[in-house]
Symmetry: C2
Subunit: 242 residues, 2 copies
């Protein structure tokens, strides 16, 4: 490996939504299949963007202390209820609402994710460092064959990213020094927060995360902005010597 | 599957030391190799039994509140220091003491464990429910290729088994009902404690855990004592339809 910044890294932890899995494409695909079966008429790209738009504001209610600690599965249900109300959709049964609140447990990985992670796993400890709770991340890994060694993230410290408690929990739980841990993400704010906690940073470019760009635009990075700047998870594995 | 008691099970969580890995055989084997290299003369069966003898009393200091929450890796260091003192061994460097406190991260699985777990993983969520902390369990899984989906256990709730907090944490973290979770162990006290919390129970017979029996004797069970009574992890997988 030629990059001295990452020569001590023993563990890579990953942002998941957008970085490892394609939330928008997965929700739209599942929605279209649902409409086909249920003979409903829902604008699924708009529906998925509305779910995503609720994400940060709802999580910030927990981060600011307005709401007590609440797991992301449960926040997803609150967001879904609001979207259904806004769109005046009142045909979902309670069971169907649970099914849709849990759509985040069934997202599909980007085409390179499983191969990249599988290669990295041979050389490093790998795990999610997501705002998703343990049940969500465990079911998602089963569904999408993400070969994690360990599930880390928000629920273990009852804080949501970018709170520093989440980042510093990784060296603590893995008994490593901060410079032995790399956060991998497609989002600069996540990586910047990890760097402030002494972690190494790996950027993956995900140009298609936000589709038409209504609820976000993909971050770009150039060599040197982070310890590793990669085109996808396979490129990341190559750059990490795995 | 013919056993109605376990028809709802979605996740199997495992006791690890003695049930999945052979702590005594592994420590003795590593010790003998160490003696060969270092030209030391240590009675490794006795050494491993002394380490094990320190396990419950030291953990109970945490369980009773005499000591604050302390991770098992750190308790293992306390136990090691005591054993070295008792045996009047003063040749270990600090680095070597860390190496030996971490011998529990390098234990070898019983011959059937990896195959049994791999089969179970295809049908169920599987994870350790050990008193070992996250770093210990994660490193052990890497070392011995234990294919866990998630690392659960004492550290997530800062309680040691058989405290009920550890058992009830599994349905909570996995978003399951207690009867959807099975604890698998070679030790009746662990299974009895899990059953009191509503979990299903799977016994594996491990006749060779304690060697000469100086620090313990293997538990036996007959059909009906637990929801599943199995001869090894492969038999468990078969009985669970995996």
């Amino acid at each position: 490996m030629t990059n001295a910044n990452v020569s001590e890294v023993k563990a890579l932890v990953f942002d998941v939504f957008g970085t490892v899995v394609d939330w928008r494409g997965s929700i739209i695909a599942e929605g279209l299949a649902w409409s086909e079966t249920k003979k409903t008429n829902i604008d699924w790209p708009d529906f998925s963007d509305r779910l995503r738009s609720g994400y940060h504001p709802t999580m910030n209610r927990v981060r600011t202390g307005e709401m007590p600690w609440t797991r992301l599965d449960d926040l997803h249900r609150l967001i879904l209820d609001q979207v259904l109300q806004d769109l005046k959709i009142n045909t979902f049964t309670d069971e169907e609402k649970t099914h849709w609140a849990h759509v985040w447990r069934r997202l599909k990985p980007w085409p390179d994710s499983v191969e990249g992670l599988s290669r990295l796993k041979r050389k490093y400890i790998i795990g999610p460092l997501s705002n998703g709770n343990i049940a969500l991340m465990t079911n998602l890994a089963k569904h999408s064959k993400l070969p994690w060694d360990v599930i880390l993230g928000s629920e273990l410290v009852k804080h949501y990213k970018p709170d520093k408690e989440v980042y510093i929990s990784v060296p603590y739980f893995l008994d490593l020094r901060p410079e032995q841990v790399m956060l991998v993400a497609a989002h600069a704010i996540d990586l910047d927060s990890a760097r402030k906690c002494g972690l190494r940073t790996g950027f993956i470019y995900r140009p298609n995360e936000f589709g038409n760009g209504k609820v976000g635009v993909p971050d770009h990075a150039k060599r040197g902005d982070f310890d590793i700047v990669s085109a996808d998870a396979i490129d990341l594995a190559t750059q990490m010597g795995a």
